[in-house]
């Protein structure tokens, strides 16, 4: 029997690491050890404890702010359009490396729920989109669903900006129902997808009419700012709205939503429509299922459905789609730590493949690679983020913030889900793109990114006895893997360090380094070990 009963005992190292791997892009051993002493409840409170992002505003390569928003109307840009071509993702990614918190994983999940791609994305619109995700990732999915329907980038992506009473366009409304909220069920008749019908798609389309925008617009105009979020959104042209009542199908209990004729009424109409959709438990269940795949595991067995999903869906719905109560319940549950059945730890733990984003961010942070300062060494941050993290994502099946299809990234949207991140091609890139050059060191705009393996072992305080091969290996396994490898795999990593020589030989190598300060020999051994550890199937798993 699976159980959402909370786990009340202290996490311990392995569970803390499990929780952190699933929740945060940034990880360090010290943080894991701190969390090990917490109960799940304390840990999750801490993970939810954020209000702001580490670096509040994107900057251009000269370290200057260049984007005016409601919250930050001033810029110190003296280099004209220098920021214009930058991908907002570089700033977003860079932030993920600087804070242990749930916020970024949640923002990314929200992005998965309501993906947009490149269309309609100049920097400012991209920034608004990202801000919107960040805003509602602290709150309610339902609020996000309402606001995203008016987001300028989304309006371009799915053509809702063209949707008027006289020229209906149901692209957005279709995806809204099919992919973003209640999702398609079984097709039980022509045009009937159990959860909604074609009639509902059309009615939804009518609800969405009238919101439009150009790519460029006057962002300072208060009429373009959302009252609550203060983020610019599409403009409502009342005359373009389809003002009639919208009658929905039996899937929605034949609900009639009154058509608005004024701006306020139209906004209420939108709100009512979204309420109607979100009142269906199926909507909540579909979000919960996607939360589950994102945080827990890929298999939604009948047991999981009956005992976990439904209960969490009710919690989500009952809390008006506030994320925190539902997610907290999941992350503190015995189920999450696989303590709710007879065998502990054979499910959930180590059951997901790291997306390229986790692979990269967790790598740079677990090895505590010194990073440049976003304010004073901005160019290095931007190009590092772009060329190392985003590039890896792009080439291995997750083009960050630009999913190939409206369905989202393959690793999240279709079976076998996270396994989609691993192909012969992507695996090779995951192996080759990150660690080897980091062990050698490279410079970007004057800042050297370098994992000094010897200093890391000597000074990080994570290695209690570096001269003892067996202890060193174990501590590396603890640092990087789900489980300590055994048998041939253990030997493989052991030999990556020792290279056929004895542990005594390693003892002398380390000892010699400590005595003489010449790290070249020790570096050879440690680099070889770290490279093997990272370029392994074991390291691809979280």
């Amino acid at each position: 029997m699976y159980s959402l009963q909370p786990k009340t005992t202290k996490l311990g190292y392995k569970n803390a690491y499990h929780l952190l791997r699933r929740c945060s892009y940034k990880l360090t051993k010290s943080v894991i050890e701190t969390y090990a002493e917490k109960t799940p409840e304390q840990a999750v409170i801490d993970l939810f404890n954020y209000t702001e992002v580490p670096h509040l505003r994107p900057k251009n390569p000269y370290g200057e702010t260049y984007m005016r928003t409601y919250r930050y109307p001033e810029v110190n840009n003296s280099h004209g359009n220098a920021g214009k071509g930058l991908n907002i993702g570089q700033w977003w990614c860079y932030n993920t490396l600087h804070e242990v918190s749930l916020q970024f994983r949640l923002q990314f999940l929200m992005h998965n729920f309501f993906p947009t791609a490149k269309a309609g994305g100049d920097n400012w619109n991209n920034n608004d989109y990202t801000e919107l995700l960040a805003y509602h990732a602290k709150g309610s999915i339902k609020s996000l669903a309402i606001d995203i329907s008016k987001n300028v980038k989304m309006a371009f992506y799915l053509d809702n900006r063209l949707n008027t009473a006289s020229n209906p366009n149901d692209n957005y409304s279709r995806e809204f129902l099919e992919l973003f909220t209640i999702l398609k069920g079984d097709q039980i008749a022509t045009g009937n997808y159990t959860n909604y019908t074609e009639q509902d798609v059309t009615q939804a389309q009518r609800v969405f009419t009238g919101y439009t925008s150009g790519i460029n617009f006057d962002r300072s105009k208060s009429s373009r700012l959302n009252n609550i979020t203060k983020i610019p959104e599409a403009e409502l042209i009342v005359g373009n709205h389809d003002t009639g009542d919208k009658i929905f199908s039996a899937a929605f209990n034949n609900t009639t939503i009154k058509g608005g004729t004024t701006a306020d009424e139209i906004k209420t109409e939108l709100s009512n429509f979204v309420d109607m959709v979100f009142n269906e438990l199926e909507t909540a269940k579909n979000y919960v299922r996607r939360f589950y795949r994102f945080f827990v595991g890929r298999e939604l067995t009948t047991e999981v459905e009956n005992e976990i999903i439904t209960s969490l869906a009710n919690t989500l719905k009952d809390n008006n789609y506030l994320i925190k109560p539902m997610l907290t319940k999941l992350l503190v549950s015995q189920h999450f730590y696989d303590e709710d059945d007879t065998t502990v730890g054979d499910h959930r733990i180590g059951a997901l493949v790291k997306s390229p984003l986790e692979l990269a961010t967790q790598l740079f942070t677990i090895f505590e690679v010194p990073l440049p300062n976003y304010d004073t060494q901005t160019a290095s941050c931007i190009y590092f983020s772009r060329n190392k993290i985003i590039k890896l994502c792009q080439s291995t099946g997750m083009n960050l913030f630009e999913p190939e299809s409206v369905g989202g990234y393959a690793g999240y949207s279709g079976a076998p889900y996270d396994k989609n991140f691993i192909t012969t091609n992507s695996l090779k890139l995951r192996y080759d793109s990150l660690i080897d050059e980091l062990l050698t060191g490279y410079t970007i705009n004057g800042f050297q990114f370098y994992l000094d393996s010897v200093l890391f072992v000597k000074d990080s305080s994570h290695f209690s006895a570096p001269d003892t091969a067996s202890v060193l290996l174990q501590e590396f396994f603890d640092l990087l893997f789900i489980k300590t490898p055994t048998g041939a795999r253990f030997t493989y990593f052991e030999q990556a360090l020792l290279n056929g020589l004895s542990a005594t030989n390693w003892f002398f190598v380390w000892d010699n380094f400590l005595k003489t300060g010449d790290a070249s020999d020790a570096k050879l051994y440690l680099d070889r070990l770290i490279s093997a550890l990272v370029k392994s199937p074991e390291y691809q798993i979280m």
């Binding site: 054979d346 499910h347 041939a488 030999q495 056929g500 004895s502 798993i541």
Partner: protein, 686 residues
């Protein structure tokens, strides 16, 4: 690669023949696709290298019995006993004193193989400038260097050999050549043996597949796995499919099988079992390397008080039992003809023990070679030490440079011809003198020794001037009237010599015993053969010099000549060869010294020769002679007679003359002559 390129078996026409013509090798041209594949085809042969990583303590592996008391004095705690139930195994009581050996008691497998005639022990292997760093020494040896310069070693001996043998094929499998060139198990670190400065991917590392293979070597039961383990399996198998050779390796492994012979349950044994299975399954990979690590026995080499057990004992037992099981398996599978196994250690260990029941880094150690094609025995005497030898053997105790061993294996076992040996940068070590005769003669792929059998003595007859008659000076052994040679010193004709001089002529026979008195190299497959009269002359001027040409007469040994004709003709019939030459006469421009010149390099590649074209026969004092007219130079020259049987003619593919190398011999059907290529042009021999 196709069969054509494979067939580099040299008939060594002039290789090692007394006519030593610029290192002439009759290269087989590429028109032998239809040749029947003989089971013992050299081209299918495999070399298995067992790497004893960490440096094996050779002195406790093979104990020099005749130095036992010094051995004990230097290894008071760790010496192997010579009495009692845990004493060394006496290898072979018939060996001479300085080769008598005691094997580590764990080496029962080795003893068994030796008694079965399948093991060779090569003593005292090392190299000129030993290095005591594992990495440096390994890399020096992998690269085929002497240790004086350890900088920039981009390529290895076998890398260079394989790249020259299969140019462009590394990491580039084709439909007909889908096997990796070399496969390494037992460590994921690439081995410089297979490094190359521009061909990448000569070595395929199969270590990541070991888990999978080892499980499949025996039947395994399916157990339920955790989600993590399943996911790990999924990613691991994706990893496996990432490389070009993966499918082929899997196919070969699946198609192969082992015999019912049991292997021990050690990684080394399983690696070898995998190798046997892959060879049986049709792998054409030429070199397999397996690894046993842990030999760096600075401490715990033995268990205190019991020198027969401990770290080194475990390793030697593992090594011995695994190799023995492997040999049994390949014999049961019927693939033993193709396989030779050799051990490798980056150095030996110190003669004197250290203070931790172990040994520190050393220099010389014995290497072992196994297989049914091995001429079993002990090669080289044990390096000598006295009871004051503190650390290392002295430099002069080295018996073999490791490159001699590997050049032998590359050439005599794998059949690498001179060009490939040159590419491997082992030419110096692949000479007759330097190669180690540990391959059985009948299996030797590169028989460059014209001697048919051991034990023949050189019969050197020094002929002095005995008499003069009609302008001819007759030479023979003092006190006889048996003329061997004659020189017309001052012929009356334009251009002839007018100086007076005295000379000594030596006539040498390498063997007087039929059938070895006809020196031959035969290749039944290619139909190429070289047959030399087993008798040669040399002229030395004692006083004076010549200023023009002279005439020479060489008295025949009719029995030898008849033999020569018969043997050559018989071969031609048997092999179905296209052409047979008349007896060809050549003069070399420096003295012939037997037997050392009966090797690849002959007199060296810069030596020129002169075909003696102006000939006639005659007899004097009831003895037949062959006369050479107008011989311009005679001081320090020698002479040979030979018959060439060949399938190669001027139309044999290789139409571009530039592909010939100095030393090629062919039959020219247009001119009806046998000719040799001197590097620039074809020159007729008769």
């Amino acid at each position: 690669m196709n069969r054509k390129e494979f067939l580099r078996l040299t008939t060594a026409a002039a290789v090692g023949t007394p006519f030593l013509l610029n290192g002439m090798t009759a290269q087989v041209m590429n028109n032998f696709q239809d040749m029947p594949m003989v089971a013992n085809n050299v081209n299918d042969r495999v070399l298995v290298i067992v790497r004893l990583a960490g440096a094996n303590d050779g002195l406790n592996t093979v104990i020099p019995i005749s130095q036992y008391s010094n051995y004990v004095a230097l290894r008071p705690n760790i010496h192997i006993k010579n009495t009692g139930s845990n004493k060394y195994i006496e290898l072979d009581s018939t060996l001479q004193d300085n080769q008598l050996s005691g094997l580590h008691p764990a080496l029962t497998g080795f003893k068994n193989l030796y008694d079965g005639g399948k093991m060779a022990v090569v003593n005292g292997v090392g190299y000129p400038s030993p290095n005591f760093s594992h990495f440096r020494s390994q890399n020096t040896m992998f690269a085929g260097r002497d240790g004086t310069n350890n900088n920039f070693l981009p390529s290895g001996m076998f890398g260079r050999y394989l790249a020259a043998l299969y140019p462009g094929l590394a990491n580039n499998p084709t439909h007909s050549n889908s096997d990796p060139l070399a496969i390494q198990f037992g460590t994921t670190n690439p081995c410089l043996f297979y490094g190359h400065d521009h061909e990448v991917g000569i070595e395929y590392n199969g270590t990541s597949l070991q888990d999978d293979f080892f499980t499949k070597l025996t039947t395994s039961s399916t157990t339920s796995k955790s989600e993590y383990e399943e996911l790990l399996e999924f990613i691991t198998s994706t990893e496996g499919a990432m490389d070009l050779y993966y499918n082929r390796i899997q196919d070969v492994f699946t198609a192969g099988k082992n015999s019912t012979k049991t292997y021990p349950n050690t990684s080394l044994a399983k690696q070898l079992k995998t190798v046997a299975r892959m060879i049986e399954g049709g792998s054409k990979t030429k070199i397999f390397q397996v690894t046993l690590g842990g030999f760096d026995t600075h401490a715990g080499q033995i268990q205190s008080g019991s020198s027969h057990i401990g770290g080194h004992a475990n390793l030697t037992a593992t090594m011995s039992d695994a190799i023995k099981a492997f040999q049994e398996d390949i014999e049961a599978l019927g693939i033993n003809d193709k396989v030779l196994t050799v051990t490798f250690s980056e150095f030996g260990r110190r003669v004197r023990e250290n203070g931790n029941l172990g040994t520190d880094h050393g220099t010389l150690s014995p290497f072992f070679v196994f297989g049914t094609s091995v001429e079993a025995g002990v090669y080289g005497t044990h390096p000598v030490f006295t009871n004051t030898t503190n650390y290392q053997y002295s430099e002069s105790e080295r018996k073999y440079d490791y490159r001699q061993l590997f050049a032998t294996l590359m050439q005599d076992w794998l059949g690498a011809n001179d060009t490939l040996i040159q590419e491997a940068e082992l030419s110096t070590f692949a000479t007759q003198t330097n190669k180690i005769p540990l391959i059985k003669t009948e299996d030797n792929a590169y028989p460059d020794n014209l001697m048919g059998a051991n034990g023949c003595l050189v019969i050197r007859t020094t002929a002095v001037a005995l008499t003069t008659d009609d302008g001819w000076t007759y030479y023979g052994e003092t006190g006889t009237t048996d003329y061997l040679f004659a020189i017309e010193q001052t012929p009356v004709a334009s251009g002839a010599n007018t100086n007076s001089f005295t000379a000594t002529v030596t006539v040498e026979k390498l063997c007087d015993v039929a059938p070895n008195h006809v020196h031959k190299i035969e290749n039944l497959i290619t139909g190429e053969g070289v047959f030399a009269l087993g008798m040669y002359w040399n002229i030395i001027l004692d006083t004076g010099s010549t200023n023009g040409w002279v005439n020479l007469r060489w008295f025949k040994d009719t029995l030898l000549e008849t033999s020569l004709n018969t043997v050559a003709t018989d071969f031609k019939t048997k092999a179905g060869s296209a052409s047979i030459s008349p007896i060809l006469d050549l003069q070399t421009n420096s003295a012939i010294n037997l037997p050392s010149q009966l090797d690849n390099n002959g007199l060296g590649i810069n030596t020129s020769f002169t075909p003696l074209l102006n000939k006639e026969s005659g007899s004097y004092s009831s003895k037949e002679y062959i006369q050479y007219n107008q011989v311009i130079t005679i001081a320090n020259t020698g002479g040979v007679r030979f018959i060439k049987v060949t399938n190669i003619n001027q139309n044999t593919p290789f139409v571009d003359n530039s592909k010939y190398v100095k030393g090629n011999i062919r039959y020219n059907s247009v001119t009806n002559k046998i000719e040799g290529f001197d590097g620039t042009a074809w020159r007729t021999f008769h």
